[in-house]
Structures are given as C-alpha cells and as structure tokens.
C-alpha cells in the first residue's frame, strides 16, 4: 500500500508506527512536499492479515527469528517446545530490570525465548544497558511486534 498526497502529487513517506496492544495498528505517512501527515488505522482483522503474511508495515531492522510467525501467533504451543543450544554470546548482553523480567515472565513459554532475544538484540544494537518496560514498549512499536 502507498499513500499519495493528491495536492502535491507526491508519494507520502512512512513516518511512524504504533501498536496500541488491542490488535489494531496505526501508521503515519508524511508528504515530503507539504509536510501533511495522514494516519492509517487498521482494525484487528486487517492487522492480522498483515501479520499473517509475516511482513511489517514500515519495514523492519531486525533479522527474522526462526519460526517467527509460528512462535508469535500459535496460542496452543507447548511451553517446552524449544531449547536453545546455548551458543549465543552473552557479551554485551543488556541487563533486565525486575519489572521487565516480571513482564517477560508473563509471555507464554512457547514464544518467550524469541521475545527475549528480540528485545536483547534491540537493546544491544542501540547501546541500551538495561531493558525496562519502557524500552520494551518502544521496541514493540519500532519493530512492529504486535502482541509481544
């Protein structure tokens, strides 16, 4: 999908994405000519359709995780379905605040490992020393992690 500023006859550029957490999605697009901003608001079914394709409006800066869609969307997955081979580096790994750990603990076991890695990679790449709920909220919106 693309947005056109009819007055300027210019293609509008993606500006920002927000995930309120209720299954909806909001994305802002700005006209590079006149600066006009419009918002795209999708209902839960439309958001789901996009998520089902495994793509993210506004793009993504992180590498896809193995079975990302399956782990992110299946609700009847086994808590103990996955194990990590433990070869991942802990060098430069950010700390987790108590509140962030508590929040991570509420994530179903089926997807928790992947969610933890995504947030850790996000923090590491931005030089964030400690992951807090606020960092998780920002990451969710920036990375398009609906429901995570």
């Amino acid at each position: 999908m693309k947005f056109l500023c009819v007055e300027c006859d210019r293609q509008m550029a993606f500006e920002e994405r927000r995930l309120p957490g209720d299954g909806t999605l909001a994305a802002a697009f700005k006209c590079p000519g006149c600066g006009r901003v419009v918002a795209l608001l999708t209902n839960p079914m439309e958001t789901q359709l996009v998520a089902s394709l495994g793509v993210k409006i506004g793009g993504t800066t992180i590498t896809a995780q193995p079975l990302e869609t399956v782990r992110g969307m299946v609700t009847t997955g086994r808590d103990d379905a996955f194990t990590d081979d433990g070869q991942r580096t802990t060098e430069g790994a950010p700390a987790w605040s108590a509140a962030a750990q508590e929040r991570l603990g509420r994530v179903p076991g089926f997807v928790r490992g992947m969610v933890k890695k995504i947030y850790a990679d996000y923090a590491r790449e931005r030089g964030i020393a400690e992951i807090t709920p606020a960092v998780m909220d920002t990451a969710r919106a920036e990375l398009g992690l609906e429901g995570m």
Partner: protein, 264 residues
C-alpha cells in the same frame, strides 16, 4: 471536479515498508534453505483417509535404510501424525543460529511437524480476532509452511517428502513457495470414488506444471474394490509405483523406495 490521481504502479519512490521486498526476502530464504535438497516431493491425494502419511513414513524409512539422506516435512498442520508414525523421540526442538534443528528418528529420517510444537490433545490455534477468522487463517497456515521450509535446518538431503493434508490447497501453497513446483507422488485407494477425487488433484498438479513421479495404490486386497491406481496411471501417463496391502512388509517399502529412485 473529479480528482485526478495516479495509481499504485505509477508511484515509484522508495518505500520504507518495502512489502514486496519483504516477501521477496522470504522466498529467497526458502530457496537458500532447500538448495541442498536434491528433490522435494509432495505426497498428495485429492482425498482424505487414503494413507498419505502412512505411505510417507514407510517410504521415508525405506529410503533411509538405503543409505540416502531423507527428510519428512509434515504439512498437515491441523492433523500432524508424522512424529508418531516415524517413532520420533520425545525431544525439544533445538534452536541453533538462524534455524531449528529437525528431529531425527532412529533410522536417520529428519522430520519437522506441528505435532512437535503444539500441546498434546489440543488443536492448532492462532492468536487473532475470532470473528471472520477464515479470512486470515489460511494465510497463517501458509506462513507456517513457509517457515517449516525456510527455518528448519534440513541440511543436504537426497529427498524431502512433504506430507500434504487432503485436497489441493496446501500443494498450491507449496508450489508458490518453492523456486519450482515440487515433484508429486499420488496416493489413492482402489475405489472409483477415490479415483474421482484424486483425478481432480492430479489435474491441478498437471496444470501447475509439476512433474508426477507416479501413483501408489494403498489398502489393496481388502474391502476396497476398484482399479483406481491403474486407471489414474493410464489416464495421466504416469507409472503405478506400487500396490500396497493393508500391512505392507519391509520388502514392499524397500521395493517402492527402489522404484521411486528409478522414477526420480
């Protein structure tokens, strides 16, 4: 005065969302992962209950006994049976780098299945709005199939058997995802009803340009009367690779594996 604005393809500025590029990257990931697989073979039928999964499991074990590296992708996401049919060990799926390791049975058959991931006795369920779920559920299942192809470390294989659910939809998705349509093995039981359903599926395979390696007639010599295997093989000019009785022995599976090796 009516608005005069341009259409989608007339807008050519770089787009940060890059949705076509994201889809393209997904396809490349599938192609790279299966690049080490000599042949992807879809096991299909137009009909349920003809023994596709049973044949897939028996054939894969026979291929492994011949010393050929073989994998089974259980594409029946809602009714996965491969883990039990292949006697897979109870094991967690290991994440290693950018992939998941397939589970390997005692004979060396590599397998990945939704049955390894979903809680016992529960259906495959997805997060999302329940109303109108038929709109998005098919897309999610296709995404799961894509990830089973792209994110499982299949490694070098002579043969990757894809066990499809009844019908033709998952075959079409598989053909969409792979760089080229997969070869096909068709399973039927002897009855004319089965022949009718399988004929439709074979026509779709033909229309898609997928090569058919042959027909396997399953559950012969029992209560099911008919000659579906022969008639379909004649009609589609493809070999009848095997007539399998209800309880085929090792020799029957080995003979099928040998014939398949010749056919492919």
């Amino acid at each position: 005065m009516p608005l005069n604005f341009r259409t989608y393809h007339e807008l050519t500025d770089p787009d940060r969302s890059g949705l076509p590029e994201q889809i393209g990257a997904q396809r490349r990931r599938v192609a790279e992962r299966v690049a080490g697989v000599r042949q992807v073979v879809a096991v299909l039928s137009g009909k349920g209950g003809v023994g596709k999964s049973y044949v897939t499991a028996g054939l894969s074990r026979a291929v492994a006994r011949r010393g050929r590296p073989v994998g089974v992708l259980d594409a029946d996401l809602n009714g996965p049976t491969a883990p039990r049919l292949l006697h897979l060990p109870v094991a967690r799926c290991t994440l290693r780098g950018d992939a998941i390791e397939p589970v390997v049975n005692a004979e060396g058959v590599k397998c990945f299945s939704m049955g390894l991931l979903v809680e016992d006795g529960r259906p495959l369920a997805f997060r999302g709005p329940e109303a109108e779920s038929h709109v998005w559920r098919g897309a999610l299942e296709a995404a799961a199939l894509r990830e089973f192809l792209a994110d499982v470390a299949w490694g070098p294989l002579d043969l990757l058997l894809v066990d499809l659910p009844p019908g033709i939809q998952r075959f079409q998705e598989l053909a969409d995802l792979l760089p080229a349509p997969p070869a096909v093995l068709v399973v039927t039981i002897p009855t004319p009803e089965s022949a009718d359903a399988v004929r439709r599926a074979l026509r779709a395979v033909h229309d898609r340009g997928a090569p058919c390696l042959g027909v396997i007639e399953n559950m012969t010599g029992g209560p099911f009367a008919g000659d579906a295997g022969d008639s379909l093989a004649r009609e589609f000019d493809t070999p009848l690779l095997a007539r399998l009785p209800f309880h085929p022995g090792v020799h029957a599976w080995d003979a099928l594996a040998q014939r398949l090796g010749s056919a492919s």
